[in-house]
Amino acid sequence: MIEKSKDELLYDHNKDGVDRRGFLKCMAWAGTGALCVMQGGVLKSYSLSQMSQMDGKMGMGELSFVQISDSHMGFNKAANPDVVGTLKAAVEKINGLPIAPEFMLHTGDISHLSKPEEFDTVDQILKSAAPKDVFFVPGEHDLLNDDGKQYLERYGKGTKGAGWYSFDKKGVHFIGLVNVLNLKAGGLGTLGAEQLEWLENDVKHLQHSTPIVVFAHIPLWSVYPEWGWGTEDSAQALGYLKKFGSVTVLNGHIHQTMQKVEGKVTFHTAASTAFPQPQPGKADSPGPMKVPAEQLKSLLGITDVKYVRGQHALSVVDSTLG
C-alpha cells in the first residue's frame, strides 16, 4: 500500500463528492501532475512525485491509454513558435511511459487552421508513437471553412453525424462526442438534438457496472462560461449516464489541466501539446499565454489513463513535457 504522507489527500467521497478544499488542492497540483484514484468509495490524490513510492499495483490494470489534445499544428506565434517540436516531445513522453498505452485519444484542435498540411504533419508525427491506434474528436479549429467535411474524410470513417461514435475496449465503453459545430451567437459548445438522441440509444442497453469514458473537445462541465468554456446541453448528455457507476469525462480546449468530481462522474481536462492558456478569468481573454521559453514545457503535457477492474474510477495522471 501507499504510505500516507503530507502530500496525500483524503476525503469522504460518499458525503458530497465535491470536497472543495480537496478539489482545489488537486487542481493546484495539476501543473506538475496529479493522480486521483478512487479506492473503496474514497477519492485519493497523489502528486506525481510520489509515484515512485508506489508498489506498482497502481500502474497495473486491464487497460491503459493516453490522451493528448490541442496540438494546434500550424500555430507559429510567440506563445510557441515550435508546435512540431512540442508534439514530438509529447510522443517521446508517451513512448517513455513505464506501461505502454494501448491507444491514444486526441481531443481535438489537431490543426490550427484546418489546412491539409497541418493534419498531414500531425498524422506523420503520431506515426512514431508506440500506440498505433488514435481515436479523434474534432476541435473548432479542425472544422474551419467547410463545416468539417475534410475532418470527416480524414478521421470520420465509421462515425455518425458530425463525427461522433462509440467503441469498447476491455469492458470499458468509450464515447467520442462532437460539441464544436453549429455554435450559436453568445452560446457555448453544443451537442445538438441528433447527437443526444444517438447517445441515449448508445448507452441504453449497457449494464450499470460498465465503466464509461466520454471524450469531447470543449469541457462538458461549466469551467468558465464567460470564456465559452462549457457545453450548453451537457447536462442532458450526463443525464443519460447517471445510471453508471463510473463515468470519466475527458476534454481539451482550455489548454490546462483541471479536475472535478461530481458524484460518480470525474471530469478532467488535458494540457495542450502546443501552448498554454490562462487560468479562468486571470487574463483579458483566453488567448495563448506567453511564458518564458524555459517554462513552456512545464505547462504542456499528456494525460495517462488507467482502468483497473474492481476500482470505481479510472486513474488519470497528467505529466508535463519538461
Binding site: K77, A78, A79, H112, L113, S114, E140, H141, L144, N145, L183, K184, A185, G186, G187, L188, E226, W227, G228, D284, S285, P286, G287, P288
Partner: protein, 118 residues
C-alpha cells in the same frame, strides 16, 4: 419614414459628390462612385471593437483580426460570412441596406457585435 430619410441621405451624397467633382468631368460623369464611406472593426482579446458600430447605408466595414488566434465574422441572420481570419487578416462587407446586423465569431460564439446601418 425611414425610407424617406434614406432617400434624402442618398440624394445629399449625390449632390455633394457632384459639387465636389464638378471640376473633373471624368469623375463627375459617375458621381455615385465618389469615395465610398468606410469603417473599421478591430478584433482584439476575443472581442469586436467597437462592439456596436453605426454607419450610413453604403458603408464598407472592414474587420481586422489582431489576435494570435483565428476568428470569423458571421452574420447571425445569414447576411454575411467571412472565411476564417488568421492574425492580421481582414474581411470586408458593404452594407447596402438599412437595418441592424448582429454578428458573432462562429469559432468563439461568446464574441458578438452588431452593425447598425442607417
Amino acid at each position: 419614414m425611414i425610407r424617406i430619410r434614406v432617400w434624402i441621405a442618398g440624394l445629399a451624397v449625390v449632390m455633394v459628390a457632384t459639387a465636389l467633382f464638378a471640376g473633373s468631368p471624368s469623375v463627375a460623369a459617375k458621381p455615385q462612385q465618389a469615395t465610398p464611406a468606410s469603417a473599421e472593426v478591430k478584433i482584439d482579446n476575443f472581442s469586436f471593437g467597437p462592439g456596436s458600430l453605426t454607419v450610413p447605408v453604403g458603408t464598407t466595414v472592414t474587420w481586422t483580426n489582431r489576435d494570435d488566434i483565428p476568428h470569423t465574422v458571421v452574420s447571425t441572420e445569414g447576411a454575411f460570412k467571412s472565411k476564417v481570419l488568421d492574425t492580421d487578416e481582414k474581411f470586408s462587407f458593404t452594407f447596402s441596406k438599412a437595418g441592424t446586423f448582429p454578428y458573432f465569431c462562429s469559432i468563439h460564439p461568446k464574441m458578438t457585435g452588431k452593425v447598425v446601418v442607417q
